[in-house]
């Protein structure tokens, strides 16, 4: 299977381990990722909160690049990039006036009907959990994981059209397919503070803290994410959250692709597990996964 790949900026820097593990497990599953040539930043919160037309145009440029590659299906591991690209595609498809305006600015036609999938969605709907489970050589036995979907993987549901926005289950099923146990918990799709990472740290400590607390109460040993922003907020701010709440969490925050890689038999090193601030190694060791 061939699919266009839109990694986004984070996967080149803070979330490089997400990129590494994504490429690895895709290759393992026979998925050929074709990186969009010369892709640009989605603009994230910055663009859509200050200049709507710019936000749509940034997405439109990436869609036009896809057209040049003769590809009609694209996946992004970053929930934010996925959400922005999907929103742009949706708006351009439903607003003829906007489309004309954007095409005039871009000086290029924007393709219609591009299928934008989050990486999780691609694995679940295009590959299938059964196939993924068949590839497991080292089951994640005994790991109790909290699947954290965050905001933008399933919302807004009328655009994403994937899973239940309030009680999503796809990542849970995938992790169970890897042999792990998942916990039922309340904050699967609540917000971690997202784009306020730098500008409003207090909000991240508050919201991220609620997520960590809920995962702890549910008895999880680690969180599993599908978004670099979620990972950053919950992992790099975990120390500050612990200080704030006076509770020690020590919850590793891993990308779901890293766990897929582990279960497929890859070493923690090639999956970039060493790059996480809250080390998953003590946990992996007790579960005999090293």
């Amino acid at each position: 299977m061939e699919v266009a790949y839109y990694p986004g900026c984070s996967l080149h820097s803070a979330a490089r381990e997400y990129d590494m593990s994504t490429r690895l497990v895709c290759r393992h599953l026979g998925i050929s990722l074709k990186e969009i040539k010369d892709w640009n930043c989605c603009g994230a919160t910055a663009a859509h909160s200050l200049d709507h037309l710019l936000a749509v145009s940034l997405g439109a440029r990436n869609l036009a690049l896809l057209d040049g590659m003769k590809m009609t299906r694209v996946t992004s591991p970053c929930a934010n990039c996925y959400s922005r690209l999907k929103a742009a595609a949706h708006e351009l498809q439903h607003d003829e006036i906007l489309k004309t305006e954007v095409e005039r600015i871009l000086e290029a036609p924007v393709p219609c009907g591009v299928e934008v999938l989050s990486l999780l969605e691609m694995f679940v709907t295009q590959v299938g959990i059964d196939t993924i489970a068949e590839n497991v050589s080292k089951p994640l036995k005994g790991m109790k994981l909290a699947a954290y979907y965050g905001c933008l993987l399933t919302r807004p549901s009328r655009i994403s059209g994937f899973d239940d926005p309030e009680q999503p289950v796809s990542m849970d099923r995938l992790l169970e397919g890897l042999g792990a146990e998942t916990v039922d918990w309340s904050h699967k799709a609540e917000c971690c503070g997202a784009g306020f990472t730098a500008a409003e740290v207090g909000i991240v400590l508050d919201l991220g803290g609620q997520v960590l607390e809920a995962a702890r109460q549910a008895g999880a040993e680690a969180l599993v994410v599908a978004c670099p922003m979620c990972q950053l907020n919950l992992d790099t701010r975990q120390g500050a959250i612990e200080a704030n709440r006076g509770t020690r969490y020590d919850l590793p925050v891993m990308y779901f692709t890293q766990l897929m890689g582990l279960a497929f038999g890859y070493s923690p090193r090639v999956l970039g597990l060493k790059r996480l601030l809250t080390s998953p190694f003590p946990l992996l060791k007790t579960k005999g996964l090293l």
């Binding site: 239940d164 926005p165 309030e166 009680q167 039922d184 309340s186 904050h187 809920a214 109460q217």
Partner: protein, 346 residues
């Protein structure tokens, strides 16, 4: 044997269907009352009490069933349903399943009253309220069953600290449910909350509401009494989320009178699901060539409030959400139409 041999088919032996059967039977015509369940009574079997008069539903039902039994021209068929219907010159030729005596031959009826009732909305679709995920979150009919147990043996039960009632789950929601007001939820919720306070006076009860719709004889007084005498707290605002928190359930809601977000901890959450049409009603409407509206409720013809087609009448919740008394009134009205039709010569 009836005086003309004209026979009416009534589908559904709930309050509406029973009432229609009684009136038609008393007028001297034959009635075939078909009920898909093994016992007649519909929701009367499931309720703990009624609004606004606190009647015992079982009492109500038994009185009616005795009256039914006293009229030999009424034949009650339980565990049966209509499988096919064909329009004839003087009505319908109908085949019933579940009863071997009529299966092969079928029956000829001159009029039909559909009284197939309603369903409750599947509250699972509101993931934010966690039905089916968090124990302690239940639908209003499930809570009614709970109330029956509590009422019978209150000393066996550890009273909950607090119960929350969320209204309009599936009603007045264009996104996930239906745009209409289900009309009975404000009243049954007030009833359920008042019952909790009657059984366990120390249990706190919160009712979350957008509006309180109590238009009916004795309704407003009933709701006020729930608030004033039973001390049920009404909070204006539609809850956004139910979360498990330290073994209890936390409700996140904006108190829209205060304009501030509020978190309330309770032990049980009752979801007042919308009243929705039954698939069975839509199927029967197809068989009998009856009108339905865009939701699947039976629709009346202009100026004929209980008529949905030629020789097809309806009563009760299959037309739109209605109270028990309202269902009985409609049953009587449908019966009046059938009797008037049968009384015509020929």
């Amino acid at each position: 044997m009836s005086r003309t041999g004209k026979k009416a088919l009534i589908v559904g032996a709930g309050p509406a269907g029973i009432e229609a059967a009684l009136k038609i039977g008393r007028a001297g015509y034959e009635v075939m009352l078909v009920e898909k369940e093994t016992t007649p009574g519909g929701y009367l079997n499931k309720l703990c009490s009624t609004f606004p008069r606190w009647e015992d539903p079982q009492n109500l039902l038994q009185v009616k069933l005795e009256q039914l039994r006293a009229i030999p021209d009424i034949k009650l068929l339980t565990g049966s349903s209509v499988v096919s219907a064909r329009r004839t010159e003087r009505g319908f030729f109908v085949e019933l399943a579940g009863d071997s005596s009529t299966r092969d031959t079928g029956i000829e009826v001159a009029a039909v009253v559909l009284a197939t009732g309603f369903d409750y909305y599947d509250v699972r679709r509101y993931g934010e309220y966690g039905y089916g995920v968090y124990p302690g979150v239940m639908s209003a009919p499930e809570f009614e069953a709970r109330l029956k147990e509590w009422k019978n043996e209150p000393e066996q039960i550890e009273p909950p600290g607090a119960v929350a009632f969320i209204k309009c789950v599936g009603s007045r929601d264009r996104a996930k449910g239906y745009p209409y007001c289900s009309s009975i939820c404000c009243m049954y919720t007030a009833k359920q909350a008042a019952l909790v306070k009657e059984i366990f006076p120390r249990t706190a009860c919160y009712v979350f509401y957008m509006d309180v719709r109590a238009a009916g004889s004795g309704y407003e007084e009933f709701v006020r009494s729930t608030i004033e005498d039973k001390r049920v707290r009404y909070v204006r605002g539609r809850p956004a989320k139910v979360l498990p928190e330290g073994g209890r359930l936390q409700i996140r809601v904006e108190d829209t009178l205060m304009g501030t977000p509020v978190e309330i901890e309770v032990d049980m959450v009752v979801l007042a699901g919308a009243v929705v049409p039954r698939e069975e009603t839509v199927r029967l409407a197809g068989l009998f060539e009856a009108h339905i509206d865009r939701y699947g409720f039976l629709a009346s013809e202009p100026g004929q409030p209980v008529q949905a087609g030629e020789r097809v009448f309806f009563a009760g919740g299959c037309g739109f959400p209605v109270s028990i008394k309202g269902a009985q009134e409609q049953g009587a009205a449908a019966a009046a139409e059938v009797i008037a039709l049968f009384n015509q010569p020929g």
